[in-house]
Symmetry: none
Subunit: 195 residues, 4 copies
């Protein structure tokens, strides 16, 4: 009817991904199995394996199919405000009750499966980082940051502590904590030590 070229195929793909997220939220990633997704989705296992090579790949696609909108930076002229807005959004996604645990589990999976790691990087992490770096670069070009400002390192200082908290100490990620990091990055930690 519509112009969708592979109607049946796309339907199944979406149904499977939807089921994956649904089931994943219910029973957690560790208990999730392709077998169970197939059963719940009313799909044959083959139909899943035809599309994805592993549980991780399936979840990755499923999660990425969510943020159709994507997180784009507006450039309001205020770097800090822009970064803050964007990081708030990212934190809400990663640490939110809905899909936070699945995101977290997916990053966990990436530690055993380098293909997942690569795909996760390429399709989720890098785009985010690139936008952050681009926004910082714009600020630097406009003279808001010193010419020697290390863009990549700044990005890492903004992201690292958050992922550290998410993955390692497993404490809740709050907006307040984001503020502290932003503050430290742009205001500094205080006078340098005198060795």
């Amino acid at each position: 009817m519509t112009d969708a070229p592979h109607r049946r195929g796309a339907d199944r793909t979406e149904a499977i991904m939807r089921t994956t997220l649904e089931l994943g939220r219910e029973i957690g990633y560790a208990n999730l199995s392709i077998e169970a997704v197939a059963a719940r989705a009313g799909a044959g296992k083959h139909t899943i394996y035809r599309r994805w090579s592993s549980k991780g790949a399936l979840l990755l696609d499923s999660l990425l199919s969510l943020n159709g909108p994507g997180l784009d930076y507006p450039d309001t002229g205020d770097v800090v405000a822009d970064l803050r807005a964007q990081i708030y959004a990212a934190v809400d996604l990663l640490a939110g009750a809905s899909f936070g645990p699945l995101f977290q589990a997916l990053i966990g999976e990436a530690q055993h499966d380098s293909r997942i790691a690569a795909a996760l990087n390429e399709r989720f992490i890098a785009p985010q980082a690139d936008k952050t770096v681009a926004r910082l670069k714009a600020a630097r070009d406009q003279g808001q940051l010193s010419p020697g400002f290390d863009l990549d390192l700044a990005m890492a200082i903004l992201s690292g502590p958050l992922y550290f908290q998410l993955l390692i100490t497993q404490e809740p990620l709050t907006h307040e904590y984001v503020d502290r990091i932003l503050d430290a990055l742009f205001t500094g930690m205080g006078p340098r030590p005198r060795p």
Copy 2:
């Protein structure tokens, strides 16, 4: 004969942990199974399950059994040098060819298993962090850092980017990168932005 109190038990425990590391290095964490460890160690599966509740718990203990010495800070009076030395050591352990992949996989496992996460934190992460914070505090008390210096945040800025690189972007962790972070923390990123 000797004063060894639980000779038989301790013997098996050590043998199993040794085998776990050996086999883990050979075939990787994902392919590691309790069954295989038992077989290789000449132990019954029950003997393993009696001690550890999961593959992750076994690997955690096995890895922690390695650095009996632990990484202690000398206080040379130079905070930056002391931190650098300690972080170098940590990075060499986490990213080293020997056990780096296993450490990484263990952190991955912690994302699906909250008991592993808690144990990992309590027995590996927190002690390290505490020492770092203590060393920073000593420096602050001695006036080498400003009174408002946020110790915990500094620790997070030192650790976060490293774990980010280890777990997320999966790029190699170098001493040079550690230097950049230390530099950024204590020297600053440059003048603050003018919003």
Copy 3:
């Protein structure tokens, strides 16, 4: 090609039963395990459990798959000769070197597992008994036996001592012994006691 309806399934079923008998003869029923049958047959354990609920059920089917022909009575007009022929055949099967031990073990198993007992009865014992009773009935109808002749009891007297010898005293079952029982049944034990 042919009319075989469930080719793949039937193939595995037969292969598994064949292996069961083969392995059972080699190592005995007590040492037989579903695990070992699966391994020898090149089958997954699940494939066995899908068909049979226990070792006993598997052996029962395997043994029954043997005598496709079955033991049928010809009616030559001579009851005793007909019975003799049929009982000889039964005794040869039950006490034969090939499968006797397995039959015996199966009857043993039936003592702990009432489902086995029921199936064994229904599919092996009862058909045999029915045929014997039918042959006796024909003889009685033709006036070769007295009208009050107790068919069921006669059947029990023909079978009981044989199973007693097989299962309880574990002495070898000979044709000569069958003859003695037949003789006793139809000729009598001698004059009745005078109380």
Copy 4:
């Protein structure tokens, strides 16, 4: 204190056998394990293995420890009445609700374990049979039975159908059925067939 030479030992032996019967009646022979008996009896496994070589041997001893009195034939002069009394008693024991299932299971076990079979024969079956044969012999010697009366066969005809019913068809054993067999043996089945 008393003259019992191995007081502690005998105590344990009895306690273990008592527990075996108790537990056997509760959960059935198939589910019975030496481990469970030891636990319930508050005994070490070693203490059991020191005395019995297998579950079957333990149960055999336990069951035999029951009928301290034993079943002795009075010789009232009436063979049939004497036999009837004794067989009633045997049937009540073997098919009784209390220990019948355990007896039955033990006979089942004997089919896989020839040591059990031998012991069962020697200590339970043969003594019974011997007494029966002896009683029959006395009757024959007193002229109550014909000189050619086959004592062993008569014993087998008396026992066989009962065990057949107990072990094979698993129908209840009644006194009425015993009567039918006695009747057939001593009164005959009717006129011989004319071949």
